[in-house]
């Protein structure tokens, strides 16, 4: 059966629950270090153990991201990636994979420039399941969250350590698919996750929402992924993978070698996640 939109995400989390384990969500920047290699990395991720994939849409001014993803954005922009090319990459991926949920993640301006209705229509047609937009908070829901849900895509919101009990209902209100908990106040790829603090935060969130809770920021190693997988429904790894791709590309590695490095790291992280079986 081919699922689309919200069902593909829901189906994946249901399957994880049945397997009594947490999921691995991997992030890559579209077009990093170039379109062809990036597509091959994307295709290799599910077999290496990625349960859900986030594709970053490059932006010149990624103000919530640390140096690793900033560099990835610049590499991708230099390689000429655009929103259209990112969606085309997803279309190609869907020819080989109908089951892995894919979430597009980025900043609002490139979507704004593309036009929200056109973007949502094209993203859905390309096989996107959900959207994470870093700089559109609940206060601006009519801009993007509501139109996204109206076309049947998930709008995945971030909750953070600064999201207190008073604010949480507002964050949850129009969130769908899953909730992304940002493990630390800060930018991506800087600092290390504190599993005990995360466990408490996830419990607090789960008391208020039936949605699965994924945790990201500060997870780089298999053992960190394992620790988070014990307490959350999924662990998100971004900067570590992006660094792996960036270093391989900078070292002059061939596309096949870059793909192999990214797949190897993904297998290692997936191993960590799978060691943490849940009841």
């Amino acid at each position: 059966m081919v699922a689309t939109g919200e069902p593909r995400i829901a189906a994946r989390f249901a399957a994880l629950k049945a397997e009594k384990r947490s999921g691995l969500i991997t992030f890559l920047t579209a077009g990093d270090p170039n379109m062809e290699t990036s597509l091959e990395v994307l295709k290799a991720l599910p077999a290496a153990g990625a349960d859900l994939i986030e594709i970053g849409m490059p932006f010149t001014d990624p103000m919530a991201d640390g140096p690793a993803i900033q560099r990835a954005n610049l590499r991708a922009l230099k390689a000429g990636v655009t929103v259209k090319k990112t969606l085309a990459m997803l279309t190609q991926f869907r020819k080989t994979d109908q089951m892995t949920p894919v979430v597009l993640m980025g900043y609002y301006n490139p979507i704004h420039a593309y036009g929200v209705p056109a973007f949502l229509k094209d993203a859905k047609a390309a096989g996107c399941d959900g959207l994470i937009c870093v700089d559109v908070p609940p206060e601006e829901d009519q801009e993007l969250a509501l139109p996204t849900r109206a076309v049947g895509l998930s709008f995945i919101r971030l909750a953070t350590p600064t999201t207190d009990a008073k604010r949480l209902p507002k964050v949850l209100q129009n969130t769908s698919g899953f909730l992304y908990y940002v493990s630390l106040a800060g930018i991506t790829g800087v600092g290390a996750v504190d599993p005990a603090a995360v466990a408490a935060a996830v419990q607090r969130l789960k008391a208020k929402t039936p949605l699965p809770v994924a945790v990201g920021f500060g997870i780089r190693t298999a053992s960190q992924a394992e620790a988070i997988a014990r307490v959350a429904d999924a662990a998100v790894v971004g900067s570590a993978l992006v660094d792996c791709i960036g270093e391989a590309a900078a070292g002059g590695k061939k596309p096949a070698e870059i793909v192999a490095s990214a797949a190897a790291l993904t297998r290692e992280l997936a191993g960590g996640v799978r060691r943490a079986s849940r009841q």
Binding site: A64, V83, K84, N109, P110, E139, V171, G186
Partner: protein, 404 residues
Amino acid sequence: MKQIPNTFKAGPDENGHFGIYGGRFVSETLMPLILELEEAYRAAKADPKFQAEIDYYNTYYIGRPSPLYFAERLTKHLGGAKIYFKRDELNHTGAHKINNCIGQILLANRMGRKRIIAETGAGQHGVATATVAALFGLPCTVYMGEMDIERQQPNVFRMKLLGAEVKPVTSGSRTLKDAMNEALRDWVTNVADTFYIIGTVAGPHPYPAMVRDFQSIIGKEARQQMMDAEGRAPDSLVACIGGGSNAMGLFYEFLDDAAVKIYGVEAGGHGIETGQHAASLTGGVPGVLHGNRTYLLQDADGQIIEAHSISAGLDYPGIGPEHAWLHDAKRVTYTSITDTEALDAFQMCAKLEGIIPALEPSHALAFVKKLAPTLPKDHLLLMNLCGRGDKDIFNVAKALGTKI
């Protein structure tokens, strides 16, 4: 949008929108912080003690009111409108930026914040922030693009003398927009104790309205001073615009004076047609960056394009959202001036009036040079001379091919 149609002074609405512009486009980590800031500012604004503190520093520290000066020789030279300068270049630290910094640091104090951060382009806002941080004994970190550090060495040294840490920004285009990205990254990492002093009428709500309020003393004083000098309000206003804080400071008071013509002057760099400029209204389209919707220099894919101006203070690919709204509403006429025209005006002002203006208001002056001769002699033209040019002499010398 809950604007009362017969006023231009009611904005923003409760969500920080000026028409379709403005808003609060920030990450979730920052949302609680800007909501708290908005609440604290609302309370401060209603507290006479807060205003009294601002008044005290305005008078005894900044040196306000700044004079309204009749530029007689310039008026004769151009042979048209009667030209007045609002001399905010005589403020402590040499520009209008300090008006806003005093307001924000007093608010930071009320909120119990222990650390100050800021972004800077030309270094004027960085110097003003470092100044108030020194005055109130708070540690201060200023983010500045590597490119700007190279071209504004005197201000970098000033900030260091004032005890601030100047952090070079090496990401992106290494100019003001990247400094703002980096300041936001700092803020999101140090949420518990840090106050971010934004230097212009941009950023997420409440910054555009708050900075405008702190700068609006320029227009309030100017109205009274013009009444004293001429017995009536000015006929037209001219100010330069990067983010647009000195312009909003002058314009706001007069927005509902229908007879007053208002001109905002953007930086045309090498010329709009070359694509190398910083004129967001003239050469940009609406988008979302740094917390607000406004006109931005961007490509068809929504990627931000680097701005260019000889003046580092105008070298920003966006503009305050209230200006975007006033542009669409056609209340203010926005135009642009090239690097070369600004350089000519810079030299003219020095020779005719004995005032070395900053390169930023030299753009306003270059437009005055075009406008004044077309107007009658009883026309009162008021220009905001918002900064002095000491910081620019090295760059101007370089541009003129002079070794100093």
